[in-house]
Assembly symmetry: C2
Homo-oligomer: 239 residues x 2
DNA sequence: TTAACAGGTCAACGATGTTGTCATAAGGTG
DNA sequence: CACCTTATGACAACATCGTTGACCTGTTAA
């Protein structure tokens, strides 16, 4: 085993499946994405994917070494799609905010791929494009290189981390989600001020705020910290 | 089924396992934590946990409805342990920073529990303690209630999200991790400036920065944004 | 035309979470 | 002390999962 996978470029023989399908890395990734869109993230398994393609599950191992590799390819395709819908305006802060929200939404649709791509480096085309684009925005804003990289890193990781998190929440059966939201009403909002003064004082806001994603707020905090830092840097240069 | 689980308080009959162990929610959670500490997060499965306890796996379903419930209990225990090592000083920013780093480190040790507890509400004792404590710090700093909740929410979620992420990275076999780190050297650092100017310009910093966690940086950005906001609020009150 | 071999298929392995059923010992009651 | 109820542990089974080794066949290059 271990070297069953042939690099995409070297593939010659296009032998059709029993069901008549001609496999390819592209087709597999597309089908995987379709599967997830239609039936949720948990619907993606090697076996189901094989079934959806009309091929034996083990065939996929001729294209991907293991599931992780497949998920990384899916993630990269997703990055590409997100990037294509993004039109930077030249205002760094607005551009980053927009991209962050888009990538977060994209990750929402792809929890497992999002988790993977957040701590793995694919080195694939779309990932590289994204790195180049974001670094361009940050450097264009005026951050010196070491700080630009730090901000790039925090920005990307924050986006992917929240994406993975929020998508897990969305994937819950909605009865369970409702039950969770209710804990804030039924448990937290009922705590007596005597023992839990801070929770009691803010109960109303907790009930309203906690069931929603905090990503937009976290993103804005990150961006405004970056903006403040940029102002410092500019002041330092002038003075 | 569905109602095989008896609330901890109502338990009477302490019938020992074949192996002579007397089960309890407490013992199960402790054993789960030990299992993870000793053999990594992936070592935690119902079956392995049963084996470690000297009990049939299915017995655990008398104590937890499903694996998620067990993980939530583990997460809550972990929150408790973390909280106990934290001694707030009164300086809100330093205290939050310290707690953030501690909780992140705790989550690192418990990836699966961390993910779960980040998007679920347990309503268990330690979680409540943590909410009360953090809200106390934020409100004590002078944030008005709605904003205090927003900052609390972003702070906690970011901490757990990065914790889950970074722990996934740590859990990788170290050969794979080295390979990933090498992508920055072998792929990114080799991209020509002609096609990828920003990556080329910052390659040195990318290689150094990307394999590390960006959580401390992200945390500092969040805290400094919060500090700036607080300054604004104070100025507004005075003016 | 043929021979090599890429690539599809089959069957199997061991692992997972979960549940329906059964057996038994604990503990309240008389 | 004995009895009955029932809480709780054990067993066996199910469906699912990723993965691999061996096999077989159609494509393609010579």
């Amino acid at each position: 085993m271990s070297e069953r996978v042939v690099p995409a470029a070297d593939r010659r023989r296009r032998r059709p499946t029993k069901a008549g399908v001609v496999l390819s890395e592209e087709l597999i990734v597309e089908t995987a994405l379709r599967l997830i869109e239609e039936h949720g993230a948990d619907a993606l398994s090697v076996r189901r994917l094989g079934r959806a393609l009309g091929a034996d599950p083990s065939s996929l191992y001729r294209y991907f070494r293991h599931t992780d590799d497949l998920l990384l390819a899916v993630a990269d395709e997703l990055i590409g799609r997100t990037l294509r819908t993004w039109c930077p305006t030249g205002d760094w802060r607005a551009d980053l905010r927009d991209l962050g929200l888009r990538m977060h939404a994209g990750a929402l649709a792809q929890p497992r791929a999002a988790v993977l791509s957040s701590y793995r480096v694919t080195g694939r085309v779309h990932e590289i494009q994204a790195v180049e684009a974001i670094l361009g925005v940050v450097r264009g804003a005026g951050f010196p290189d070491p700080e630009a990289v730090r901000i790039y890193h925090a920005f990307v990781d924050q986006c992917l981390a929240f994406g993975a998190l929020d998508s897990a929440s969305i994937a819950m059966p909605k009865t369970a989600r409702a039950a969770d939201a209710d804990v804030w009403r039924a448990t937290y909002a009922r705590l007596p001020a005597a023992t839990h003064p801070h929770i009691a004082a803010t109960a109303r806001h907790l009930v309203a705020d906690m069931p929603r994603s905090s990503y937009p707020a976290a993103l804005d905090l990150l961006l405004s910290a970056a903006a403040a830092r940029l102002a410092e840097i500019r002041a330092g240069e002038e003075g």
